[in-house]
């Protein structure tokens, strides 16, 4: 299992993790070991086997379309790192120039 540094950086970017170079290097090795271990799965004969996405084979129970009280705005925002005008506040979403 060979993972390039670029691949590891790309995964970190997808996962929104700002990793230092040394962390990327360490992860590159650790991921390779784990993925190599995981490659054993290729030896299992799974032809025609339905993937088991749920431990219990049931159908989804449905909820009646009934409204329950919402959380008060103050509670919804209580733990927000930043809030303004009843909203969660985040840094500007800078659009990449083209």
């Amino acid at each position: 299992m060979v993972l390039t540094r670029e691949e590891v950086a790309e995964i970190a970017q997808l996962a929104r993790l700002a990793l230092r170079d040394d962390e990327l290097d360490a992860l590159r090795g650790e991921l390779a070991v784990i993925l190599e271990h995981v490659e054993v799965l290729g030896q299992a004969d799974t032809i025609g086997v339905e993937p088991m996405t749920h431990a219990v084979p049931t159908a989804l129970r449905l909820r009646a379309d009934q409204v329950e009280p919402s959380l008060p705005v103050a509670v919804a925002l209580a733990d927000a790192p930043a809030a303004r005008d009843g909203c969660f506040e985040v840094p500007a979403i800078i659009k990449a120039a083209t």
């Binding site: 449905l62 379309d65 409204v67 329950e68 959380l71 705005v73 909203c87 969660f88 985040v90 500007a92």
Partner: protein, 484 residues
């Protein structure tokens, strides 16, 4: 832009639409907070909507039923067991970091939406209809953005067409047909201004005669019927111009800016879009059971296009009238009910034209549910006209009185003595009096001024308060004037 028409002789636009339809549910798709419009920011949340640690989704039965209605109405294949999947991306209006949507096992596949285009009936084929939740709203605010999660979790279905549309007009007509269908079925209110119907368009162009599709762009944020046409036309023109200049269209997502009337690229090209779909482990497969399916099928109304065609066939309405009267289901129902009450199919046409003129004028843009006169009452009025009890002109006055008082047509006619004078002897006498009173005009008429007939008819109407039978009066006046 004026040369676009010319250019389109050699370039063919290919358009597919992805329309998000808000389902008419009281509560959210996966949790019980309300879906009301216009509530204060972040006042419609719960642990699930906020994506709080430990919170889980549960699915709204009504959302399923509404999506099924749309699926059955479009003749789609309904999957007996469909599945929810997680679609991952990071954005502040997406609380969990993923949207619960459907991926490779959507609720509905194939089917189509029928529409009339320039007098031709066309079926726009659907690829799929799937269930998903809406995101919240980001309000840009200088160096910061503000996030309101009231919309987050609102139940949607996404209706995706095949690339079957070939002009901005067709796309706009498709949107109107879908809008009509959604409202017709009670699936949603379809108010674009409230974001209840939102359109993304995949647009490409290719040389006419070519089989291969050109590079497409995805246009987002088209949020009014007017903009569907404008945004797509703008994009077609942009692509044709690039290709005419020997350039290449870039595969990208563009955001329609309605104020500027242009589109702008949305994401940077280096950013990787990888949604990492996988079946949502919090939600077992969604099974469509027999009773639910039966309910949807047995309550399915006659759909807009077949109804329009029936109105033309059975009622003899011209296309434009039939189209107007099937623009919404309540209008069409009104007509059918009035015809049924009249008990005479021959009255359908006069009822329809009275609806399109007088009734719509009185309603002044309000829905037909607000009509001050019930279908049966209108039928009674039109029957009086048809039976020559009152004239069409008097009918308008009677209608005004009906609107004002809620009284029945026959009652008003009797009480106010509005019956048409159709007795020939009486009318003849009145006509003779009239001619005697206007010798000069009689002279002129007889000298060849035929147009004065209208003057006499008008005078007669004036004298009788409009009650003289117009056809008979005209006939008698003609006879008397010709007599000497």
């Amino acid at each position: 832009m004026s040369d676009l028409a010319t250019l389109l002789e050699s370039w063919e636009p290919v358009i597919g639409l992805e329309v998000h339809v808000q389902l008419a549910c009281e509560s959210k798709a996966f949790s019980p907070s309300a879906t009301s419009f216009g509530a204060p920011p972040n006042s419609l949340t719960d642990p699930t909507v906020l994506g709080l640690p430990g919170a889980l989704p549960t699915f709204n039965a009504h959302a399923l039923e509404l999506a099924l209605r749309l699926g059955v109405a479009t003749g789609a294949k309904i999957r007996a067991r469909c599945r929810f999947a997680r679609k991952h991306y990071f954005y502040p209006d997406l609380p969990k970091g993923y949207q619960i949507s459907q991926y490779d096992e959507p609720l509905c596949e194939e089917g189509g939406i029928e529409l009339w285009l320039g007098g031709v009936r066309k079926k726009v084929r659907l690829q799929r209809i799937h269930l998903e939740e809406d995101a919240g709203k980001n309000l840009h605010h200088g160096t910061a953005s503000l996030v309101d999660l009231n919309r987050a979790g609102v139940p949607l279905c996404e209706v995706v067409t095949l690339p079957d549309l070939h002009s901005a007009e067709e796309a706009a007509e498709y949107m109107r047909a879908l809008h009509r269908l959604v409202r017709w079925l009670g699936v949603g209110e379809g108010d674009m201004e409230k974001g209840q119907l939102r359109c993304d368009a995949n647009v490409s162009v290719r040389r006419r005669g070519e089989d291969r599709l050109g590079v497409r762009t995805e246009l987002k944020n088209i949020n009014s019927f007017r903009f569907v046409h404008r945004a797509i036309e703008h994009e077609i023109a942009r692509q044709v111009r690039i290709l005419e200049d020997g350039g290449q269209v870039e595969r990208e997502t563009r955001l329609w800016d309605a104020d500027a009337g242009v589109s702008q690229p949305m994401r940077s090209k280096e950013e990787i879009a990888d949604y990492r779909y996988f079946p949502d482990p919090d939600l077992p497969p969604l099974a469509v059971d027999g009773p639910t399916m039966r309910k949807v099928i047995t309550t399915m109304p006659e759909l807009p296009v077949p109804r329009l065609e029936r109105f033309m066939r059975e009622y003899g309405l011209p296309f434009d009238d039939a189209a107007l009267l099937t623009d919404d289901r309540e209008r069409a129902d009104y007509l059918d009910e009035a015809v049924r009450a009249a008990g005479d199919g021959a009255l359908a046409r006069p009822i329809a034209s009275f609806m399109l003129t007088e009734l719509l004028r009185v309603l002044d843009g309000q829905p037909i549910a607000k009509a001050p006169v019930a279908p049966a009452a209108l039928a009674e009025l039109i029957a009086l006209v048809a039976g020559e009890v009152i004239s069409g002109k008097i009918a308008k006055d009677v209608f005004a009185k009906m609107c004002a008082s809620g009284e029945g047509a026959q009652h008003i006619v009797d009480r106010d003595d509005l019956r048409q004078i159709s007795d020939e002897a009486t009318l003849r006498g009145l006509c003779e009096e009239l001619l005697a009173a206007h010798p000069r005009q009689v002279e002129q008429y007889r000298a060849g001024k035929d147009s004065l007939l209208g003057f006499f008819v008008g005078q007669l109407m004036k004298a009788t308060g409009g009650k003289a039978n117009p056809a008979l009066s005209t006939k008698l006046l003609e006879q008397l004037l010709a007599a000497t």
